[in-house]
Symmetry: C2
Subunit: 252 residues, 2 copies
């Protein structure tokens, strides 16, 4: 789900294993393809080069990958399927929290193989056709999320709009966190950067659940008739007032 | 900036003029191309077919359009340039309001030729390569907006994240409004649908300016030391509290 930006070109490091998976031939093709992309560039590498390096027939390549672009993003289909399955069973819970958890599936896929993810990030920034491919994948994640939210907001006259705006915001936040991790070379745990970015969006729409991963203590249970009073200067911007409310609700 | 969705296929209406512009040959090519796309489909129409119908040479086509996809979106480059110029001179004002105005430039481009816009919308939903092209164009608008917001939020440690999330949200809202208008067949004024969607996002982040177009009375000027007190049950969800605040700030 990483986005690509027009920054300085980076040279991908040589080597690096393919992502973990079950089919050895598929893995061999991914590894051969990445070796060749790094050595000769994506555009100058042909499918014939890849199958020769992997020691398999040309038809084997197309059994696993519809195109040369697909070999660069071998796990998105599986991740999209996983996300749809997760959302199909998540009929409870704050909708935005569910969507944040869905977004974390993508981060987890990247984190499963940091070296491969960083190589791909660098490659994608250099090759226009891969950028295009990536945009379409990001769009599919966003649509999957928006579709879920639309269903959850079915009673809301602004439900479709709310769903689309929130899905776009969550995807943007996820990608911001993911890019931070990828730019750092994929060192350490990438999840906190994504959690932090997602928390920003959740805060925007006032999601109630405390993040279990953040280690923050959950808000104590409160009496139903308990009240919170906020006093703020009229000139204060609304976001600052919201910040105050959240602080007041969290302190207790 | 219209997005595409996987809805029922629609058949494009025959005819329809190209978008307004200055170069007659360019206009003739756009008109010929759309006639052929409608008659034979996008994929089955070649550049040779287009130049034959327009009565010009093949080189003339490529003088105006790098590819067959570009002839479908002839005005986005101009609109992107216009947006960049607008943002470059908009150094004052609530950043989110400026971005909403920037988004309205895109709606205005679509509204300049409703029939053409609706034809293109239908065509884009049917042709995968056009969807890909459109996604890349939408991404460029989003990047242009995020770039502007990042500069405006330069002092904010979360500035880049805020900029990217807000740009994504604004683009999603704009496209929601635009699609509402396109699906209606481009009848009437499309601007209110877009304004309404944009107002949803502005409200999310508590933009202060009242929309001049909405006809709502602007909030009266207030004393600096004026205060607002909000009393809410602790169990109230945050969005309801925010709604109360907005009402309190607006009522006076």
């Amino acid at each position: 789900m990483a986005d690509v930006r027009d920054e300085g070109r980076a040279t991908a490091a040589v080597g690096g294993p393919g992502p973990s998976g079950k089919a050895p031939m598929r893995e061999a093709l991914i590894e051969a393809a990445f070796q060749l992309f790094v050595e000769h560039g994506f555009e100058r590498t042909t499918v014939d080069d890849i199958v020769a390096r992997a020691g398999v027939g040309r038809r084997s390549f197309f059994r696993y990958f519809p195109s040369k672009e697909d070999v660069v993003f071998p796990d998105h289909e599986r991740c999209l399927t996983e996300m749809s399955a997760f959302l199909a069973t998540s009929t409870d819970g704050e909708p935005l929290d569910v969507i944040c958890d869905a977004a974390r599936l993508v981060m987890r896929m990247y984190a499963a193989n940091p070296e491969f993810s960083v190589q791909r990030y660098r490659l994608t920034r250099e090759v226009p056709s891969l950028r295009g491919y990536e945009l379409s994948v990001v769009h599919r994640y966003e649509r999957t999320m928006a579709h879920y939210l639309r269903q959850r907001y079915a009673g809301d006259p602004n439900g479709a709009l709310r769903a689309e705006v929130q899905a776009a915001a969550i995807v943007a936040a996820h990608n911001n966190g993911l890019r931070t991790w990828l730019r750092s070379g994929g060192h350490g745990d990438g999840a906190p950067a994504v959690d932090q970015s997602l928390a920003f969006v959740r805060q925007t729409w006032g999601s109630a659940r405390e993040s279990a991963e953040s280690g923050a203590a959950p808000a104590p249970p409160s009496e139903e008739d308990d009240v919170v009073v906020i006093v703020a200067p009229r000139k204060a911007p609304l976001w600052r007032v919201v910040q105050k409310i959240e602080k007041a609700l969290g302190d207790d």
